[in-house]
């Protein structure tokens, strides 16, 4: 479905991604894990065209998307939940959701959109309560839910998730991971997920990549990664977990 | 040009506000100046010396005027004509006094030529527009004859309007007139019904609208709209056919004192100003496809004066100065100038004519 090959991305002079290659097959959940500042967000931004790579190749559904503007990439069915939420702060919750469906908006679609909004509300009931609240005054967690809901509104075939559990209460983040697998099962959405909570992400995913200072250093099935000593030590923090469990 | 170029040109500086908020003043002045330069040089220059005008834009800004004046002085001009507005002139005056160079201003304020502290005329400074006080006296004189004792004045907030307002208030008692309402309006005001409503609420027997701005036509229109019927006097700042056109019917019958440029064709054949006025008017209107105004005339008079001084006394600033200061019977568009050491304006009450608007055209006011 998506295949990026040897992409190089720069921030000015900073060489953030070095020959990164990743592929995502239809119906898969792929996790991308790595330390702080390794370049995870940059990978997602390179795919969605927010920080276009300087060189490389990016094929989505057989079409070359390298160098296309973000809005066109989104229209082709890739939707990204950006790091740090980036909701439309002064607008209401429901307007935020509507805008998520911007590119499929038409008079004909209106009834469906209503249904889709309802669907989002059933995932995140708190959003229904806050429907007419200005989004900028939501608490951090509520904003994250809104961001996810908004991305779902575009009915993407590939969803890029950047740290969806960040700042969420444990129960909610469990819910979110559950929901992500529901997305895969029920809507057959393909997902590329970036997570700090590597364990949760890998438990969810079919495959995983490990990125370190802009380079992919490992690619394996999630089981393989979960059992890898190296990965356990660096990202899963096994010993500590046992202390309080 | 013929052999004129053989001699060194006489350089005269001009400071006109041909861009900025006073450009409707500076632009006709600039056009007139260019016309004169051409005319003088075609006629063989001044004693064989070609005339060279260095025209600088002052943008209606005193600071820009100061710099422009310094620039001109540095380029060795023999005298400076302008600036267009009173404020700019006041800013340039000290420079000229210090440099001991002639300035013939095209702005009206009396303080330009008259130092209120010493109560003397400033040595190097002259001006060509009529004195505001004369205009005021002319208006009040006319009112007195018509039995008007209570007036409302409405003036604009430029230097021109402010000077007028001051003089109107100062001379009223002399003519037994009471100013019972005193309103103002800004250059960009769009609706003056509040001011006029207030005037309507008083017992004024006439209104004086003293302004040099396009907005003065709004006073005329709003007055008709509010159904105010008392006579309307305008200042000489109304001397611009475009204003009369813009006010349309609202301008019919207004009364205002003005120089004779606007009514050149109605003047008696033997009137000393007739020849000059008709020639200027024709030349200006054929060249620029627009009606002549009094403002260009101020520049014309100022330049002619300097040229005459050069002709009579050569490029010696002291001699030129005393030539101008003692010049009598000099025919200009604004009137017949009679300068003296105690009068650097040189115009009397007789330079003004009472005009009115008849069928959209300026005409001599006859009662």
């Amino acid at each position: 479905m998506l295949r990026i090959k040897n992409i190089n991305t720069y921030y000015g002079k900073v060489h953030a991604l070095k020959n990164v290659s990743i592929h995502v097959n239809v119906g898969e959940i792929v996790a991308l894990i790595g330390a702080n500042g390794a370049g995870k967000t940059t990978v997602l931004n390179s795919i969605s065209g927010i920080t276009p790579p300087r060189e490389g190749e990016a094929i989505f559904g057989g079409v070359n998307i390298l160098g296309l503007p973000t809005d066109q990439i989104v229209k082709m069915g890739i939707s990204q939940i950006p790091e740090g939420r980036q909701i439309f702060a002064p607008l209401t919750v429901s307007t935020n959701l509507e805008l998520g469906a911007y590119h499929r908006y038409s008079r004909k679609n209106k009834p469906f959109l209503k249904k889709d909004i309802e669907e989002v509300f059933s995932f995140f009931p708190i959003l229904r309560e806050r429907m007419n609240q200005i989004a900028g005054t939501l608490s951090g967690g509520e904003q994250q839910m809104l961001a996810i809901g908004r991305a779902l509104m575009s009915k993407p075939s590939l969803l890029l998730l950047d740290e969806p559990s960040m700042g969420l209460a444990p129960m909610i983040s469990k819910d979110i991971f559950r929901m992500i697998s529901r997305l895969k099962d029920e809507l057959k959405t393909t997902i590329l997920i970036v997570e700090q909570n590597a364990k949760a992400a890998l438990q969810l995913a079919d495959r995983g990549y490990v990125i370190e200072t802009g380079k992919i250093i490992m690619e394996e099935s999630s089981k393989g990664l979960l059992n890898n000593k190296e990965v356990q030590r660096a990202y899963l923090g096994k010993e500590k977990k046992e202390i309080w469990e | 040009a013929k052999k004129v170029d053989l001699k060194e040109p006489y350089k005269i500086g001009c400071l006109f506000a041909f861009t900025g908020p006073a450009s409707w003043l500076g632009e006709p002045e600039r056009r007139t100046a260019v016309w004169i330069e051409d005319k003088v040089n075609k006629a063989g220059g001044i004693n064989g010396h070609p005339l060279k005008l260095l025209i600088e834009d002052t943008k209606g800004d005193p600071t820009a005027a100061v710099l422009a004046a310094k620039k001109l002085l540095k380029e060795g001009v023999l005298a400076i004509v302008g600036p267009s507005t009173s404020g700019e002139s006041m800013a340039v005056v000290p420079i000229m006094e210090e440099a001991e160079q002639i300035l013939v201003s095209c702005a009206a304020a009396e303080a330009i030529v008259h130092d209120p502290k010493t109560d003397k005329e400033r040595k190097w400074i002259f001006k060509t527009p009529q004195k505001d006080s004369h205009v005021v006296q002319k208006i009040y004189g006319h009112m007195k004859k018509s039995g008007i004792a209570k007036v409302a004045i409405i003036t604009d907030t430029t230097g021109f309007g402010a000077q007028g307002r001051e003089q109107l208030k100062k001379y009223a008692p002399e003519f037994g007139i009471a100013v019972i309402s005193d309103e103002t309006y800004g250059p960009k005001d769009t609706d003056l019904t509040p001011q006029l409503t207030k005037i309507k609420g008083t017992e004024a027997q006439a209104i004086v609208n003293w302004s040099i701005l396009p907005a003065q036509t709004t006073v005329m229109k709003n007055r008709i709209q509010l159904g105010i019927t008392i006579p309307l006097y305008q200042s000489h700042g109304f001397g611009n056919t475009k204003y009369a056109a813009a006010a349309g019917e609202a301008a019919e019958g207004v009364i205002f004192p003005c120089g004779r440029v606007l009514v050149a064709e109605f003047l008696d054949k033997k009137h000393p100003q007739k020849k000059l006025l008709v020639e200027y008017k024709k030349a200006y209107e054929s060249q620029h496809k627009e009606d002549v105004s009094t403002f260009g005339g101020h520049a014309l008079d100022a330049l002619n004066l300097v040229v005459a001084a050069l002709k009579a006394s050569g490029p010696d600033k002291n001699k030129m100065r005393s030539f101008i200061e003692n010049k009598k019977g000099f025919v200009g568009t604004g009137g017949i100038f009679n300068f003296s050491p105690t009068d650097h304006t040189g115009l009397g009450l007789d330079s003004l004519e009472m005009l009115t608007v008849k069928k959209g055209k300026f005409d001599l006011y006859k009662k």
Binding site: - | F18, T19, P21, E56, D57, G60, D61, P62, T63, A64, V66, L67, A68, K70, K71, L73, K74, S86, G87, M90, A91, V93, P94, E98, A109, A111, D115, P116, K117, T157, T158, G159, G161, A162, Q163, E166
Partner: protein, 314 residues
């Protein structure tokens, strides 16, 4: 002040001293006097805008307050010019305090509007208080100022006089920037909430820097008055306020040097463009636009870029 600043300051001083010996044309000297006067206000405004991040589109008012205090007190009431000079500073800073307390609580465009409104009101007052200010006709015949027995009655003398002030003010400003206070100012620019939480009394600091910039404006106004010896309201209107903001931004908001360069450019450019007559406005607008498009960090940003490239090459 860091080493780079001290060095630049030294070079600037030397250039300024040499300038009138090379260029004797009083017109150029006089242009430089206005560069100095505008530079003084622009530096003050850059402390407020570039460092503290508070816009003011009403700074012509402080310039006008200084100018009118000097004009009215010396020409009409016979005060000593220096007395009037300091009373102008006092008046400006008091008004800055009064106006600053409520205004600086506003943010962004609302602050822009409030300062703009204040500037316009001041301008109207200059126009309307005819008995004091002479109204639209202004005040003329203002005496010259003198220092240590020297009357500043020639362009050259005034040139040195104004630029001495400017250098002093520049030094003060550079010192301020590289201090605890300067740092605090910059923090307000980025996040007022965080600055407050770090123990910075942002409200007070904003008012203080507003007052400093008002004082600089007043100083420039007094210097203007005694140079031109005529004041009228038209020099202190909205247009001049906007011009000041443009000086700061075109020069480069993030540095007081930028303000100085901006003041120089926007004072000298119109003199350069004089020859263009009616096309001047058009070209002037285009130049401003091009600078902003190609040098969004202002002229100083461009200079820094060139400088860094140069260093790299060497």
């Amino acid at each position: 002040m860091d080493k780079k600043d001290s060095l630049t300051l030294l070079i600037l001083t030397v250039c300024l001293v040499i300038f009138p010996f090379i260029v004797t044309n009083t017109y150029y000297i006089s242009t430089m006097v206005f560069v100095g006067i505008n530079g003084i206000i622009a530096i003050g405004l850059s402390l407020l805008m570039g460092y503290a991040g508070q816009i003011s589109i009403g700074h012509a008012a402080f310039f006008g307050l200084g100018a009118y205090t000097s004009a009215v007190l010396t020409a009409k009431l016979g005060f000593h010019p220096w007395g009037a000079f300091f009373l102008g500073i006092l008046l400006s800073s008091c008004i800055a305090l009064i106006i600053g307390i409520p205004s600086l609580k506003l943010k962004g465009h609302y602050l822009a509007m409030a300062t703009l409104g204040f500037g316009e009101i001041t301008y109207i007052v200059f126009n309307e208080l005819t008995d004091i200010t002479g109204g639209p006709s202004g005040i003329g015949d203002i005496p010259k100022i003198s220092l240590a027995g020297y009357t500043m009655n020639t362009d050259i003398k005034y040139y040195f006089f104004v630029w001495a002030f400017l250098l002093l003010i520049l030094t003060f400003s550079l010192n301020l920037i590289h201090s605890r206070i300067g740092r605090a100012l910059r923090s307000i620019h980025d996040s007022e909430v965080a600055a407050n939480a770090m123990g910075i009394n942002t409200g007070k600091l904003k008012i203080q820097v507003f007052m400093i910039s008002a004082v600089f404006g007043s100083v420039a106004g007094s210097l203007y008055t005694h140079y031109v010896t005529f004041v009228s309201p038209s020099s202190f209107g909205l247009f001049f306020s906007i011009l000041l903001v443009m000086m700061v931004v075109i020069g480069g908001m993030h540095s007081v040097w930028g303000a100085l360069i901006g003041a120089a450019l926007l004072t000298i450019l119109p003199e350069f463009l004089r020859a263009l007559k009616d096309f001047e406005i058009f070209v002037y607008g285009s130049v401003l636009l091009l600078i902003m498009i190609f040098l969004p960090r202002g002229l100083i940003g461009g200079l820094e870029y060139l400088f860094n490239r140069l260093i790299k090459k060497v």
